[in-house]
């Protein structure tokens, strides 16, 4: 049996290993949401957060591009109202919207033969069709992380892309090494999913995180 951490818990845990996320807050009322949003000029993203919420988008639990106090307040309340008991909802995650054309996926998976592996690939809506994914065994050397990036077929995505700057390869390698460190350090880890990892101003930012643990071990 496995158990999943909430998005907020997953992000807190992975931040310790150096995974970069957007500034965000876990709020429990519309008033708190408005207060957080005042610090940013950007439109906001709001998501219901709980340890047991699958299919967030399908259930309409992700609100994107929300602008203005009234809309933020309404969005937050709707999400809180939509929570079901089984969601184990702990609040609403609110963050400024990030914009970027390139999305990747990164994570940790346990291979039945080789054990913990670091996975990196092309994300976004065409990800499955493109199926451009590379895998290495954890722990990674920095050379392995760079080699993983160079092993992707879609190398052109790392260069300047439709008005966006080139991807900072070192920062992307840092992300993979951070995942590798997390895989070595977290007892009972079953999987980590960062999906999507968006390229914002050339730097990778994980917009979502999901950590799955074996039920026998609780997160440290």
């Amino acid at each position: 049996m496995t158990t999943t951490l909430s998005e907020a818990e997953s992000k807190t845990l992975l931040s310790r290993f150096g995974v970069k996320f957007l500034p965000e807050a876990l709020v429990v009322s519309p008033a708190e949401a408005i207060l957080f949003a005042e610090d940013f000029a950007a439109p906001m993203a709001l998501k219901l957060c709980g340890s047991n919420i699958a299919h967030k988008s399908e259930r309409g639990l992700v609100h994107l591009g929300v602008v203005g106090s009234d809309a933020i307040s309404r969005s937050c309340q709707e999400l809180l109202d939509a929570a079901r008991p089984e969601d184990n909802a702990i609040g609403v995650l609110i963050a400024p919207m990030a914009s970027g054309l390139r999305e990747f996926i990164a994570g940790i998976a346990i291979d039945p033969v080789f054990g913990p592996t670091v996975v990196f690939g092309i994300g976004g809506v065409l990800a499955e069709a493109i199926a451009d994914v590379t895998v290495r065994l954890a722990p990674l050397r920095r050379h392995d992380a760079i080699d993983m990036l160079q092993s992707l077929r879609s190398q052109s995505l790392f260069g300047p892309f439709r008005g966006e700057p080139a991807v900072d390869i070192d920062a992307l390698a840092d992300l993979l090494c951070a995942l590798s460190s997390a895989a070595s350090a977290i007892d009972g880890l079953v999987s980590i999913d960062l999906n999507p990892v968006m390229i914002v101003d050339g730097l990778p930012v994980a917009l979502d995180a999901l950590v799955e643990m074996s039920s026998e071990v609780t997160a440290s």
Partner: protein, 494 residues
């Protein structure tokens, strides 16, 4: 504990016993004895046969108790599974350290066989015996002129060490060795790999002075992390080429039923190979190309390649082939270009690929090759179009006008010229310690061609095409990059 001494007993035995020698030429117990006696093994060979029947005109012993004490190191077992425990006890009592078990009826045959197999391993450990197999095809060890296997061929001596989970791929690789002349040091089929597997063989090869490259066929590994760590340690000391079955979904299913291997996502295996420094080949031919390259060429210092060709088309495809590799088709530096201007007619390509445009003569080719191979901006050179003159010579020799009309003289001249071009190319390689790869389809189409023979006689590999040579060179360069990564790695990941 299995030690180096056990592997020495296996690959370089002082004397051998074939247990279960048969009078029937169709049986394994006949073929194994035949092959050991036919390929030059110098040690004493004993054979057991329950009826003490003569086999191949030689007397046999009733069982292992009749073998003299402390003489033999290896027993090659062709007897039924049920009689093997007693046989191993007798072998150990005679001082034998290693057994190759060709007998079937073990793990591959179901629940009962699996039980027999684990009992066999337990007994071997207790007796301090190295046991390879069961259900394996045998082993080859050219330093001892040993062909202890129930299949052909016996390859020429050389530096490639083969280990395989499937005996037939040992044969495939050795057939390519015979064809190309690039030889083998040791080769072994690990069968069900009950006590020792492919990784144990690679560890022995890495320490073996006769072996400089490991060539492996795998279908699966049991303890992945352990395998990966040991593979990396081997790759730090010796290049390893891996061909893996079960890369596709349907291949994985077939592999599971063949060796009982656990399926793993192919991308994981592929990443593991890159990470641990092994060259992952995609076909038997490519695997042998890469192994032959490692066995016969110095590794390049870097990715910069020059292509020298007698005519255009070959160079164009070679240039295309480099595009999908880590290699770099360098722009010719000015000083090299002017050197070549002085040696070639004005119509030469004036860039890389260096197309001699038919301007080659007995003096220009050596001078061009020396200048290119030795130049400081070039790490490796690919030479194409060798052998075309002697190919014409062959047609003339087989035609109705030979040897008249001056044909005898010109045919001999072409043969000498082609051989000389090759010798010059290889001498330039030796002088600069840089790889020079010669590629021609004549290596397959006409192995007797003068250029091909000259490559072969020099102990080098004539690649069957420019693309295949480029691909092999890519893997040489990958290894160089991988080895360098350990010295340039400053600190652990940030």
């Amino acid at each position: 504990m299995i030690s180096t001494d056990h592997f020495k007993a296996l690959f370089d035995p002082r004397a051998i016993v074939v247990a279960g020698a048969s009078t029937h030429p169709g049986k394994f117990g006949f073929v194994a004895l035949h092959n050991i006696l036919s390929c030059g093994y110098a040690g004493e060979v004993f054979a057991t046969n329950r009826e003490r029947s003569e086999v191949l005109g030689r007397p046999t012993l009733a069982d292992l108790t009749e073998v003299p004490d402390g003489v033999a190191d290896l027993v090659f077992v062709c007897t039924p599974a049920a009689s093997n425990p007693e046989l191993l006890r007798q072998a150990a009592a005679k001082g034998i350290r290693a057994a190759f078990i060709a007998s079937a009826g073990y793990g591959e045959s179901g629940e009962d066989g699996l039980k027999l197999q684990s009992e066999l391993v337990e007994l071997a450990n207790e007796l301090d015996l190295l046991v390879v197999g069961p259900n394996g095809q045998g082993l080859v060890s050219t330093p001892s002129h040993l062909c202890a296997q129930i299949v052909a061929p016996y390859p020429p001596a050389g530096r490639i060490g083969i280990a395989s989970q499937s005996g037939n791929f040992v044969s495939s690789f050795m057939n390519l060795s015979r064809q190309s002349g690039v030889g083998v040091s040791r080769a072994i089929s690990v069968g069900n790999a009950a006590q020792v597997g492919v990784i144990d063989m690679l560890e022995y090869y890495a320490d073996d002075t006769e072996t400089t490259v490991g060539l492996v066929y795998l279908e699966g590994v049991a303890e992945g992390r352990d395998f990966a760590d040991r593979l990396e340690a081997v790759c730090r000391r010796m290049p390893v080429v891996i061909l893996k079955g079960g890369a596709s979904g349907s291949g994985a299913k077939a592999a599971a039923s063949h060796t009982g291997s656990l399926a793993t996502d192919d991308r994981v295996f592929d990443g593991m190979c890159r990470q641990m420094g092994a060259a992952r080949a995609s076909s038997v031919a490519e695997a042998f190309d890469i192994a032959a390259a490692f066995a016969t060429l110095p590794v390049p210092a870097g990715p910069r390649v020059a292509v020298v060709t007698t005519v255009g088309g070959w160079g164009v495809l070679a240039a295309d082939a480099t595009a999908t590799t880590n290699l770099e088709l360098v722009d010719l530096p000015d000083d090299l270009r002017s050197t070549l201007d002085g040696l070639l007619p004005p119509r030469w390509s004036r860039n890389n690929p260096i197309d001699l445009a038919g301007g080659e003569t007995k003096d220009t080719v050596p001078a061009v090759l020396d200048a290119v191979v030795g130049h400081s901006s070039i790490d490796a050179t690919l030479v194409l179009g060798m052998g075309i003159q002697s190919n014409q010579g062959r047609l003339e020799k087989e035609g109705p006008f030979y040897p008249d009309h001056g044909l005898e003289r010109i045919v001999a001249f072409h043969d000498r010229q082609d051989a000389r071009y090759v010798e010059v190319a290889l001498a330039a390689s030796a002088a600069s310690n840089k790889p020079v790869l010669i590629a021609s389809e004549l290596s397959v189409a006409d192995p007797s061609n003068a250029a091909v023979s000259a490559v072969r006689d020099a102990g080098r590999y004539c690649f069957p095409s420019a693309e295949r040579a480029v691909r092999a060179l890519h893997f040489l360069n990958e290894r160089v990059r991988w080895l360098k990564s350990f010295s340039t790695e400053s600190l652990p990941a940030r």
